[in-house]
């Protein structure tokens, strides 16, 4: 019986400590949530959290209408033909990032709608700026873009 009580207590402690720690890490990781603009200024991306991962979707395009079709731009460069009619606005271009501490989010992917390519990616946050690196295979084979934080005019950060 004593053994049973000890095991239960230990399990309770482990759960409490791990959830406290994960809450703390999650709070730090949530610093990435919000609105961001890539260096080209051609889009705005809203990063949010789903489960314990971070995703970013395009919420604004500088040129939302395709001049060829006169309709909202779609993901026409996607390698999968069935996805080429999906609207770009609302498209999730950042996927599956996990906060790994020290202002870095790893394990995700970034999609480039201009080429239809998906790159492995890491995000590094420096104040109100994100350095987002997309790469092929190893980190050395990649390129880093700098995104700035923006906010809705009616809403303070």
């Amino acid at each position: 019986m004593k053994q049973l009580i000890t095991i239960t207590t230990l399990l309770f402690l482990v759960f409490t400590i791990s959830s406290f720690n994960s809450n703390y890490v999650a709070e730090e990781g949530d610093a990435i949530i919000g609105l961001w603009e890539p260096s080209s200024g051609k889009a705005r991306v809203k990063i949010s959290k789903i489960g314990n991962k971070y995703f970013g979707k395009i919420v604004w395009l500088r040129e939302p209408i395709d001049p060829k079709t006169n309709k909202p731009k779609t993901d026409k460069n996607n390698p999968e033909e069935s996805l080429r009619s999906v609207p770009l606005r609302g498209f999730r271009m950042l996927k599956d990032f996990v906060y790994s501490g020290d202002n870095e989010w790893t394990g995700g992917t970034i999609y480039d709608p201009e080429s239809g390519s998906t790159y492995s990616s890491t995000i590094n946050k420096d104040g109100d700026v994100l350095n987002i690196r997309g790469y092929v295979g190893i980190k050395a084979l990649g390129r880093t873009d700098t995104w700035k934080r923006i906010q809705l005019k009616s809403k303070k950060k």
Binding site: S39, D128, T146, K148
Partner: protein, 371 residues
């Protein structure tokens, strides 16, 4: 009591993995939202906006390229060893068959790749395994001596670097530098081991504009060996993609110029030419003159088909005709082994005045790319 504890234990064993596990759902659907609310925003962070080094739909940037080059047979016509004016009228009449093939392995790695600055470092090895069939010519010393030297294969090992510095949203500078160790060396003996003093150095500086995502142009100056011998020439860059994004141009004149046809983002065809060449030191020859430099340059008029195999792995197939531009030989021993600038109007004499007939070629590559 014991019943309560047992229940607690069972509950905690069930609850622990559930709460402890990641709750990830990539298929999660968000609610519809009014995207017009994102029209009006203000900056919190600040960054300076710079122009990109690329435009839409350029052919893929090759991180690593492994290829093989084959030519069919052509004629190699050579003078005797002597003194010749630098014009084609003095070409000799010793003719033999010539063909070549060889490995081409090149890498180009981005050391720094930021919005405000890009620094790429590359290197490569390119071989031409020459086969010269001159059995029928007898024993003309000049021609067979040169044939023997060239037949030991021409190798080029290079290191190169490219700096791209955007100045603002629509203008930029590009600086390219290239160091090459070229020659018929094989490292088998002291006489056939290359010397660093014979390395060739090229550089190009371009100032350019990028008015929009489909156009990039620039002008600059180049110190180059592409014509086989040292030259200082102006260069013009013009990369363009049409409004319907089906065709475009990729031009760095006079080094290369291509028309680009995009069938889809993973399937493109280039048609045009590239001027390839450099100066190769001929080591350990049986000739009277020493310190010889083979000024090799060829125009490769071609179709270049590139397509995705899987992911970022692409295959490239080039087919076309090699047109000889320069295959003459200069002697540097009497100039303290220092290279010289002849340009288009210099009258420094040649030791061999040679020609190659046009010959078909094919080049196959496997490339790790970034789009």
């Amino acid at each position: 009591m014991s019943h309560f504890i047992k229940k607690s234990l069972i509950l905690s064993l069930i609850a622990f993995p559930v709460f402890g596990m990641a709750q990830t759902d990539s298929t999660y659907q968000e609610e519809e939202e009014d995207y017009s609310m994102y029209d009006d925003v203000e900056d919190v962070g600040t960054i300076v906006t710079y122009c990109s080094p690329k435009i839409f739909d350029l052919s893929p940037n090759r991180f690593v390229s492994l290829g093989y080059d084959f030519t069919s047979g052509g004629d190699f016509t050579s003078s005797n060893e002597g003194t010749f004016a630098p014009d084609s009228s003095t070409t000799g009449n010793q003719t033999s068959g010539l063909s070549y093939h060889g490995l081409r392995l090149n890498a180009n790695i981005p050391v720094i790749s930021l919005s405000k600055f890009v620094w790429q470092l590359g290197g490569g090895i390119n071989q031409s395994r020459m086969t010269i069939d001159d059995e029928k010519l007898g024993t003309n010393l000049g021609h067979t001596g040169l044939s023997e030297a060239i037949s030991r294969n021409l190798t080029s090992i290079n290191l190169n670097t490219t700096l791209f510095k955007p100045l603002n949203e629509n203008s930029f500078l590009i600086l390219q530098m290239l160091a090459e160790m070229n020659g018929n060396y094989d490292f088998k003996s002291k006489e056939t081991t290359p010397e660093f003093a014979n390395n060739k150095y090229s550089t190009t500086l371009i100032y350019g504009k990028r008015p929009h995502d489909r156009l990039q142009w620039g002008v600059g100056l180049s110190r180059t060996y592409r014509a086989g011998e040292l030259n200082y020439i102006p260069v013009v860059m013009y990369n363009y993609t049409s409004e319907n994004r089906k065709w475009g141009t990729e031009i760095l004149f006079p080094a290369k110029a291509h028309y680009r046809r995009k069938f889809n983002p993973r399937n493109i065809l280039l048609a045009g030419y590239e001027l390839e060449g450099s100066s190769y030191r001929l080591y350990d020859t049986q000739l009277n003159t020493q310190g010889l430099e083979l000024r090799r340059s060829e125009i490769r008029a071609r179709l270049d088909y590139q397509r995705q195999l899987v992911g970022f792995l692409w295959v490239g197939i080039q087919a076309g005709v090699i047109v000889n531009y320069n295959f003459n030989v200069d002697e540097l021993a009497s100039r303290d082994n220092k290279d010289f600038y002849r340009g288009f109007f210099g009258d420094q004499s040649l030791v061999f005045s040679n020609k190659m007939s046009p010959m078909p070629y094919i080049n196959l590559t496997l490339n790790l790319v970034s789009l």
